[in-house]
């Protein structure tokens, strides 16, 4: 369409009264919005408000129940992604759509019907050209399973560029990126906008919305709540539009009360199956009544660290648990989760991968709540009444949006899934609570609910370990922040006095040599799941 003259007044894409239901859930209820060429539109909304669903209908993944879609002023029928490509719509999905065993090139040319002979070499050449033009760094022959998260995202973006998409949709592209990577992405997006492309981006991070987009469209519980010019709004106004009421967005941080050593990690080292060091000589202490933040570039060993403590990773070294009841000190190193629990260690863990690890998507909320406690009680039979009550309590207390307690968790939106998980882990009244990126993908309201819960735990005397990516949040929520870099501790700072710049510096401290390697292997482990 590049050859075609763009009609300035006509939106690149316009949705009119789009509705979509899933069973009894109304995901989109008569939503209308539009975006013009040379413009970036943010779509904002609480978890489960139907953003992904709406975008998926533009991309041809879902098909609307009713409503119309116009591209450049013409009504179109998008029945499949193929149709979407025909209208030069490209989408980068919340969950990457890449084939693990394929190379970058293979993934990028996938689905294309180019003229002429099929030649990966020629395509790789074009990919290099595009990379150069936009300043990406990508090896076209690298296999996806060898890639880090940001590399994967690069592939996704080049995929869209390669197709010459005119309309670009990104669903929470920054959720897994470091701030540096995010800045790079935004620079590219701005360049694309200046090239006259229409861009729609979904993100829960309001500062990103404000810094990047020209307009913001807000969805609220499946309904369209309006569009505002970015220049004419601010964080609290947007939040209000999104949630439908005023909310306070500050984190109350209390002073730790009577902190005691709870978990003492001494010199642990972890190797991948290929023998690469993922953690090297990590030592620290987590204290009761305190939130210990862990900052670092994604894939620097955070996951291995938490998993080692939870008994899911083999490591060398010592992990000492100071039992407050008995005063005893137990080494948790190389114990299975079951053995750890049998030692009387009250350890809760909110893993990064909610549905892949923390919960069972196909089971209902009650059965998921039961995961932690099913072994309780004598005999060989299950006891279902207590978990049922607990489930209902969690739904009530955390305002989980769900038809009922017997709804499969898979059907819930990301935010609500997370609430179920955190609710369960906290209900076990842990002495140590570990959480990896607990608000990733959560809307602002839900995020603050989670922060509040962690603060409560802290006040109850739990040692909370919080792995986060948003430095502002870490600084506001935590008592101390430990920075991990390339599998090593780069330093620990007091969150009350430290600055973002200080932490950012620490985060890249050891990266010169080992970084590439570690992130690569971390990526491989991801892919192996």
């Amino acid at each position: 369409m590049s050859g075609q003259e763009k009609n300035e007044g006509v939106p690149a894409i316009r949705l009119h009264n789009i509705s979509k239901r899933f069973g009894s859930v109304i995901a989109n209820d008569s939503v209308s919005l539009s975006v013009r060429h040379g413009e970036i539109l943010s779509v904002l909304g609480e978890n489960g408000s139907g953003k992904t669903t709406l975008m998926n209908m533009i991309a041809g993944i879902y098909y609307p129940d009713s409503g119309q879609i116009f591209v450049d002023g013409k009504e179109v029928m998008i029945r499949s992604p193929k149709d979407a490509f025909r209208y030069q719509i490209g989408m980068i999905h919340q969950h990457f759509k890449l084939v693990d065993v394929f190379s970058a090139t293979e993934n990028i040319v996938l689905g294309l019907e180019e003229e002429g002979r099929y030649s990966l070499k020629r395509s790789a050449k074009r990919i290099r050209e595009i990379s150069e033009q936009y300043g990406f760094d990508l090896d076209p022959d690298k296999k996806i399973y060898e890639m880090s998260v940001s590399e994967k995202q690069t592939v996704e973006i080049i995929k869209v560029l390669y197709r010459g998409a005119d309309i670009l949709i990104l669903d929470e592209p920054t959720a897994v990126l470091t701030p540096q990577e995010t800045q790079k992405l935004f620079a590219i997006l701005r360049r694309m906008r200046d090239d006259g492309k229409a861009i729609i981006i979904i993100t829960h991070k309001l500062h990103e919305v404000l810094s990047l987009s020209d307009e913001v469209a807000v969805l609220c519980k499946g309904k369209y709540a309006g569009t505002v010019k970015t220049a004419e709004t601010n964080e609290s106004a947007l939040t209000e539009m999104m949630v439908g009421k005023k909310v306070t967005l500050n984190i109350e941080r209390s002073e730790p009360k009577d902190p005691q050593d709870r978990l003492e990690v001494k010199g642990i080292t972890c190797r991948s199956r290929e023998g690469v060091e993922l953690l090297r000589d990590v030592s620290f202490v987590a204290r009761s009544g305190e939130i210990l933040g862990i900052a670092g570039i994604a894939g620097s060993g955070q996951r291995e660290l938490l998993e080692a403590i939870a008994g899911l990773q083999h490591v060398d070294g010592e992990i000492l648990y100071h039992n407050p009841k008995t005063g005893q000190i137990d080494n948790l190193c190389d114990k299975t989760p079951l053995q750890i629990r049998e030692l009387g260690v009250r350890l809760s863990f909110v893993p990064e991968d909610r549905l892949g690890m923390g919960l069972v998507g196909n089971m209902d909320i009650v059965d998921n709540i039961m995961l932690r406690s099913y072994k309780k009680g004598k005999g060989i039979f299950l006891e279902r009444s207590k978990p049922k009550n607990l489930a209902e309590q969690i739904i009530r207390d955390l305002e989980v949006v769900t038809p009922s307690a017997s709804t499969p968790v898979r059907r819930l939106s990301g935010g609500n899934v997370q609430k179920v998980l955190v609710g369960r882990e906290i209900a076990a009244s842990p002495k140590v609570l570990m959480a990896a990126y607990p608000v990733r993908g959560l809307d602002i309201n839900a995020s603050f609910t989670i922060y509040r819960l962690f603060n409560q735990q802290k006040e109850n005397g739990t040692a909370v370990i919080f792995v986060g990516e948003d430095l502002d949040v870490l600084l506001a929520l935590c008592d101390r922040i430990m920075v991990i870099s390339s599998g090593r501790i780069a330093g620990t700072v007091d969150a009350r006095t430290a600055t973002k710049e200080q932490i950012g510096l620490l985060m890249t401290k050891n990266t010169t040599d080992a970084y590439a390697d570690v992130s690569q292997k971390g990526g491989a482990a991801d892919a192996a799941q």
């Binding site: 899933f22 009504e75 008994g311 989760p337 892949g356 998507g361 196909n362 995961l371 099913y374 060989i380």
Partner: protein
């Protein structure tokens, strides 16, 4: 709005997943589909035989229920199929695609036969029976655990592994039937302990098969409770859904995989015992009679619910018995029953689609512009 030169048509129909469906609607759908299947199968029968389809179905009923003996025969066959179906279920629930039940049953039968042949005159009968039970359970369990072990440790594809194990079991049975054949060289074991009845399961109240039926019903009930209400059953479900979650929560995944296949294999072994000691009193490579494969369909069609399996295995056994009767009555090739069974299963399989999805047809031309 201007006419676009090439108007894109809305697709003729669109498929969407149903939220859930009330139970009676689901059964109504199944009933209707089954009826459609019978009509279609009747049509096929008519085309191939030129017989009145109603007469064909009457003959089938007659063949299955005509006499008391046939009813007992039907129940016996049902019990055997049910037993294998129940046996494969825990593995399926764990998403372990055990298609090796045929081999596990055979090897259980082989162990039983071995005890009867080798120990028939050496042990008192009650002791012999105990040894037989232990041997068949152990043999079936071993056959189930071998693929489970590799799957648990190295993710070895179990569908293909268990499939291959079937043939190994078949050849082993072949090997031993030559070793034990009567007369020598005939490749047939003949009736084992025909004179002494050593190791034969007793007949209860004059009914040869009653004991089989009772044992299978007990196993079915126990399996239902085990899967639905026991902690181990819950572990099986979790491992089946997500091994990662299971590991995270502290379920010993490898142990559960191996334990479940041990149970699965052991019950298959018992099925072998019932077939050899309770029914045939001989062993051959056909002892399992394809039940290992049929059971997979039975279990799946019943959605892994042991009680529904009584219904689904009844359906299959009825079809087989009935079709045998058709071929006797109308002197048809027996393979006809496979065709009919295949057709009816195709229909039943497709009924699940209408239960899980709804099909929406194209809306009337929207009042667009």
């Amino acid at each position: 709005m201007p006419h676009s030169e090439q108007k894109v048509r809305e697709p003729l129909f669109h498929i969407a997943k149903r939220d859930s469906i009330v139970w009676w609607k689901a059964w109504l759908i199944r009933g209707v589909v089954l009826l459609a299947a019978l009509v279609f199968a009747g049509l096929v029968s008519f085309l191939l035989t030129k017989e009145n389809p109603l007469r064909i179905y009457m003959t089938m009923l007659e063949g299955a229920f005509g006499t008391q003996r046939r009813i007992w025969g039907l129940m016996q066959n049902l019990a055997m199929l049910l037993c294998v179906s129940v046996a494969v279920t825990p593995a399926f629930k764990m998403r372990f695609w055990n298609i090796g039940a045929e081999g596990q049953v055979l090897i259980g039968g082989l162990a039983t036969a071995a005890c009867m042949i080798l120990l028939g005159d050496k042990l008192p009968n009650p002791l012999l029976l105990l040894v037989m039970i232990a041997a068949s359970v152990a043999a079936g369990a071993v056959w189930g655990v071998i693929p489970a072990f590799f799957r648990a440790n190295w993710q070895t594809n179990e569908t293909l592994f268990t499939l291959m194990m079937n043939y190994i079991a078949i050849q082993l049975v072949s090997f031993f039937t030559y070793k034990w054949s009567v007369p020598k060289g005939s490749g047939q074991v003949g009736v084992i302990n025909r004179a002494t009845h050593a190791g034969w399961l007793p007949s209860l109240g004059g009914h040869d098969y009653l004991i089989n039926i009772i044992i299978v019903l007990l196993i079915t009930f126990a399996m239902y409770v085990y899967l639905k209400y026991s902690k181990q059953g819950y572990e099986i479900a979790v491992v089946g859904e997500s091994e990662n979650t299971a590991r995270y929560i502290g379920i010993p995944v490898k142990k559960v995989i191996i334990r479940t296949m041990l149970i699965s294999g052991a019950i298959c072994g018992i099925s072998g015992l019932l077939m050899v000691a309770g029914t045939d009193h001989t062993i051959s490579r056909d002892t399992a009679a394809g039940r290992g494969f049929t059971a997979i369909m039975v279990s799946w069609l019943a959605k892994f619910n042991s009680f529904y399996m009584i219904l689904t295995s009844f359906l299959i056994v009825f079809l087989q018995k009935g079709a045998t009767e058709i071929s006797t009555a109308f002197s048809l090739n027996e393979s006809f029953s496979d065709i009919i069974t295949g057709i009816i299963i195709f229909f039943i399989i497709s009924s699940e689609f209408f239960i899980q999805y709804s099909v929406r047809f194209r809306r009337k031309e929207a009042a667009a512009s």
